[in-house]
Every structure is written in structure tokens, then in C-alpha cells.
């Protein structure tokens, strides 16, 4: 019959993905995409807060952003990168232990890894100020061990900022790796050892590649927020440790220099997107959002 119901099963199946996508995507378009695109517009304006801003294809903000703040860009890259590597080094054995040797205590241990996240991050960072204070236990011990000079300090240094970054994002590195390791079929490792591989070879050739999606995800969830962070640098660092996030924040809020702030933000976002694309291509066989399963 010609007047069939409009929604045949086939048509429904075709439309279904769009239907369930729409609410979430619409929310992001309205409250994320449009405002951010507007920022791109703002970055091409010139003016001051007193006189108002005018759109005039003013690319000079980008020029200023790149030339004046190179130092902070590179420094942020270095800090975020170091923090990511450190987080990986600390988290991986921890997570491996929980996944493969945790046994009955797996859930408990996992909960412990996640728990600090539920304590307000600002308070945790402020707590680090107390822990690393000049005449505190940590600093004193390091001085007596000779790692720190006599009149050296831990706070307001690069070390403190990187340590803070590593600390704050450690659970974000740990969780995806755990999820990936948990999914590794133990029998594959057994099979490998049956075929005369050493445990190390089995680890390197089986476990690590299978954990790789988790490592990729964890690294990204650590590196990206670390790159844009400013709290750690502000609380634990000095003027020599300021990151690009600090510059953006002060440009926005203190100097109210919106065009430059918008230009800096856009450059940072662009930078991250490019970096992530390269990273995934090099390390991940599948991108974060490609379907896996079948």
C-alpha cells in the first residue's frame, strides 16, 4: 500500500542514531560551539574595555600572542609533558598491580585511587603548600640527604609545579589504563608463556599493546588539562614558572584584554588538537572515537 506508516522499521533504524544524538549534540552546539566561535570573532577585534571593541580583522592579537608569550607556551608544553610522563610512570605499576595482582581487593584499591578526586582540588593543592613548605618534613629531609641545597626551597620552583600537576592528574591517568588492563584476556598471556615467551616478552608484546588505548586515553586526559592549567603554577610556582593558562586568565580577568586572550585561547586549542592528532596517529591504532568491537 502506498500509504504505509512513514516510519517503517528500516527508516526508523536509519533515523535512530540521529534522534538519540540530537539532544546531547544540540546542547554542545548551543552552549559550547557558538560561544567559542564567538571568541574567534572576538580575537579579531581591537579596542579596549573602556572604549569598546570593534571587529576589524585585526590579526595582530595573534602576532602578539605568538611573540610575547612563546616562553609560557613552551614552558607549559614542558611541564605538562613531564607531568604526563611522571604520571604514567607512577600510575602504570600501581594499576598493573591492582588489575593483575589485586585479587579480592581490586575494587577497594581502585576506589582508593579514585577517592582523592572527591576532595576539592584547590584544597589538595593548598595542602601541598603545607607539605612542601621550607621548614617542613619533606624539605628538611631532602636537605639532609643533599638533594636540596642548604638554602634551597621546594615551593615557588619548577619542581613544585610539576609535582602538583602530576599529583592532580594521576587518577585521570590511572583509570583508563586500568580499564584497558582489566579487559586484557589473561589467557593470551598464558598462551604466550606456553609458547616459550618470557614474562617480560609477554608483557612487552601482549600486555602493553593491549593496554595502549588506555595509555593513550590516560595521557590525553592528563596532558590536555595540564597544558591549560594555571592553579598549580599560581599556588606552587613563581613568576618564573607561569604557564600559558596563567597568561590567558590574567588577560581575560585582570587586564580585560579580550582580543589577545581570545587569540591565545584559540592558539592553545589549535595546538592541542594538532598535537593530539599526531599522537594518536603515532601511537593509537584506532582513534579515540572510532568504533572498535567488530
Amino acid at each position: 500500500m502506498a500509504r504505509r506508516a512513514l516510519l517503517t522499521a528500516r527508516r526508523r533504524r536509519q533515523l535512530l542514531p540521529y534522534a538519540i544524538l540530537v539532544p546531547g549534540v544540540a546542547w554542545l552546539v548551543v552552549f559550547f560551539a557558538i560561544p567559542v566561535l564567538n571568541q574567534v570573532y572576538v580575537s579579531l577585534e581591537s579596542g579596549t574595555i573602556e572604549q569598546g571593541y570593534a571587529f576589524d580583522w585585526n590579526w595582530s592579537s595573534y602576532g602578539t600572542a605568538l611573540s610575547d608569550y612563546q616562553e609560557q607556551f613552551l614552558r607549559s608544553l614542558f611541564y605538562a609533558g613531564t607531568a604526563t610522563v611522571l604520571a604514567l610512570v607512577i600510575a602504570f605499576p600501581l594499576v598493573y598491580f591492582v588489575a593483575f595482582r589485586g585479587g579480592r581487593y581490586k575494587t577497594v584499591l581502585l576506589a582508593l585511587i579514585v577517592l582523592p578526586l572527591f576532595m576539592n582540588f584547590l584544597m589538595r593543592t593548598v595542602a601541598w603548600q603545607t607539605i612542601l613548605q621550607d621548614d617542613g618534613f619533606v624539605a628538611d629531609t631532602m636537605r639532609s640527604l643533599g638533594i636540596l641545597e642548604e638554602d634551597g626551597r621546594l615551593l615557588a620552583t619548577r619542581t613544585a609545579v610539576i609535582a602538583g600537576l602530576t599529583y592532580n592528574f594521576l587518577p585521570f591517568m590511572a583509570l583508563p589504563i586500568y580499564a584497558a588492563l582489566e579487559g586484557v584476556d589473561r589467557r593470551l598471556i598464558e598462551a604466550a608463556t606456553d609458547l616459550y615467551a618470557t614474562r617480560w616478552q609477554a608483557f612487552r608484546r601482549i600486555t602493553v599493546p593491549l593496554a595502549m588505548p588506555g595509555i593513550v586515553a590516560g595521557s590525553l586526559l592528563t596532558f590536555i588539562p595540564a597544558l591549560g592549567d594555571y592553579v598549580n603554577a599560581s599556588l606552587l610556582g613563581s613568576s618564573r614558572e607561569t604557564m600559558i593558562g596563567n597568561v590567558i586568565q590574567s588577560k581575560f580577568l585582570v587586564l580585560t584584554d579580550y582580543p589577545t586572550a581570545a587569540a591565545l585561547s584559540f592558539l592553545l586549542m589549535l595546538f592541542i588538537v594538532v598535537l593530539v592528532a599526531i599522537y594518536i596517529r603515532v601511537l593509537g591504532r584506532r582513534s579515540l572515537f572510532e568504533a572498535a568491537a567488530a
Binding site: Q39, L94, F252
Partner: protein
């Protein structure tokens, strides 16, 4: 004991020690915060230990404005979790199980909120509200929180969906179930851990958020806003009390959940 077992045992111990230190590292600041909730400072600043007292715990809301801020944060967190988990899970489902036009660009688009600095998100969203003459306050904070939470929910649930065997769903549908029934009886139970993880993440992100909230809060106060304001002048011990209380509440929830799972498992085994 064979050489292999001995080596394994050594490795386990080494890993265990490393893990112990790592966990200690994670919890050191937490211990400090909990400890200082029992401090008895004579002045406004809670930096140096001056004596043990339970007074702060007896009267945590005595500090003006803290109670309201804390309650606002809890409400916003709860609401934003519910909305973002629902919306985000649906999006993850679409991405994982269906091939449709625009799938890859959509993937990239969903990734962008994760790559955007908080300052940019907060300031640009405020700009939108001002243009549309929307008064900033509770509702706008909520909108902002749902916005950034959706992206995190999608990533988390998607990971779980990708790791799970899609054939199960196919099988269900082959056996005559429609999409909704399949989702309800097959997919949802299987991705439940992922959804739970996403909910937890969304909750944390919401209740901890400062930058985006500060732009869009108007005169509404939230817990992080309160702390940031107070931190410059001296965080009262009552803040430590509430932060610790929140942590304990979460611990209780987790313990409760584990106990519940155990009971379910036992019931299933007995059946």
C-alpha cells in the same frame, strides 16, 4: 618453589611496595586536610596546628554562607550528573553502534570541550548569556556544568561500549527484541560500570569546578567559589570539615555499593 614463582613473588612484592607509596602519595594531602578539620586556630588562618578540637565538626555551618554554597554545589552536581549522563550515554551509543554520516567529524567535535581551557569556556559562555539577556545564576551554572560533563560522559561510556561485545546486541535483536528492549536488557546492564564511572566523573567535575562557574554564577555561591574567595583571606576549618564530610559520604556510598553487589551476587548464586 620454582624459580619462576619466586620471581613472580618478588615482582608482586615490588609492585605492591610501589603501589603502597603511590597510594600514600595520593592520600598525603587528603590526610592533612582531614587533620586540619580538627584544628583550633585562634585567628582567621588555619595554617599552623594549634590544638585539637571537635568544635568545628559540631558546628560546620556556623560560617555564614558556607552552608548555602555547599548545598548549591551538591544540587548542581546531582542535577548536572543526571542530565549529562543521559544525554552523553545516548550520544555514545550512537557513535559506537551506528554508522551514520558525519560520524568522524562528530567525534572530533565531541573531543573539543576536553581540549578547551576552562577560562575560554567560561568567558565565552558568559558572553552568550549576556547577549541573550539571560540572568546568570543557578540555572546558568547548571547549563555550563552539563555542557562540559557531556563530553566526559561520552568518552567514558564510549570506551566501555567499544570494549564490550557488540554481538550480544545483535543476538538479542536476532531473537526478536527491538532497539529499546535490547538497550534496556542487554546493553545497559553491560555498560552499567561505564555509566557509573561516567556519573562519578561528572559529579567530581561539577562539584570541583571553579573557573567556568565563576564566570556564570552571578550572585549564586558554590563550594569552590567560596573556597577560592576564602583561600585568599584564610580558609576556616569548617571548610575542611565539609570537604572531609563529602569524602566520607562518598566512601560510605562506595562501601554500600560493594555490599549491595555482594548481596546481589549471593542471591543470584543461591537462586
Amino acid at each position: 618453589m620454582s624459580a619462576v614463582t619466586r620471581a613472580t613473588r618478588r615482582r608482586t612484592v615490588a609492585l605492591g611496595v610501589w603501589s603502597g607509596f603511590a597510594l600514600l602519595y595520593l592520600f598525603l594531602p587528603v590526610f592533612l586536610i582531614v587533620a586540619f578539620s580538627f584544628n583550633d586556630p585562634s585567628g582567621r588562618f588555619n595554617f599552623t596546628w594549634q590544638g585539637f578540637t571537635l568544635d568545628q565538626w559540631k558546628d560546620p555551618f556556623s560560617v555564614e554562607g558556607l552552608g548555602t554554597a555547599f548545598r548549591n554545589s551538591l544540587e548542581i552536581a546531582a542535577l548536572s550528573v543526571v542530565v549529562s549522563v543521559i544525554l552523553g550515554t545516548l550520544v555514545a551509543l550512537a557513535l559506537a553502534r551506528y554508522h551514520f554520516r558525519g560520524r568522524s567529524p562528530l567525534g572530533l567535535f565531541l573531543f573539543l570541550p576536553l581540549a578547551t581551557p576552562d577560562v575560554v569556556m567560561g568567558a565565552s559562555l558568559l558572553g552568550l548569556f549576556l547577549t541573550m539577556n539571560v540572568a546568570t545564576g543557578f540555572a546558568t551554572i547548571l547549563i555550563a556544568h552539563v555542557m562540559f560533563n557531556i563530553a566526559y560522559v561520552v568518552v567514558t561510556v564510549l570506551a566501555r561500549l567499544q570494549g564490550m561485545d557488540a554481538h550480544l546486541e545483535e543476538a538479542a535483536m536476532d531473537l526478536g527484541a527491538n532497539e529499546w528492549t535490547t538497550f534496556r536488557l542487554v546493553t545497559l546492564p553491560l555498560i552499567a560500570p561505564g555509566v557509573a564511572a561516567a556519573a562519578m566523573l561528572a559529579f567530581v567535575l561539577s562539584i570541583d569546578d571553579y573557573i567556568v562557574t565563576s564566570f556564570n554564577a552571578g550572585t549564586t555561591s558554590t563550594f569552590p567559589l567560596y573556597i577560592f574567595g576564602a583561600a585568599r583571606q584564610g580558609v576556616p576549618p569548617q571548610v575542611n570539615v565539609l570537604a572531609t564530610a563529602l569524602l566520607f559520604a562518598v566512601v560510605l556510598l562506595m562501601v554500600g555499593n560493594v555490599a549491595y553487589q555482594r548481596r546481589l551476587a549471593r542471591r543470584d548464586a543461591a537462586a
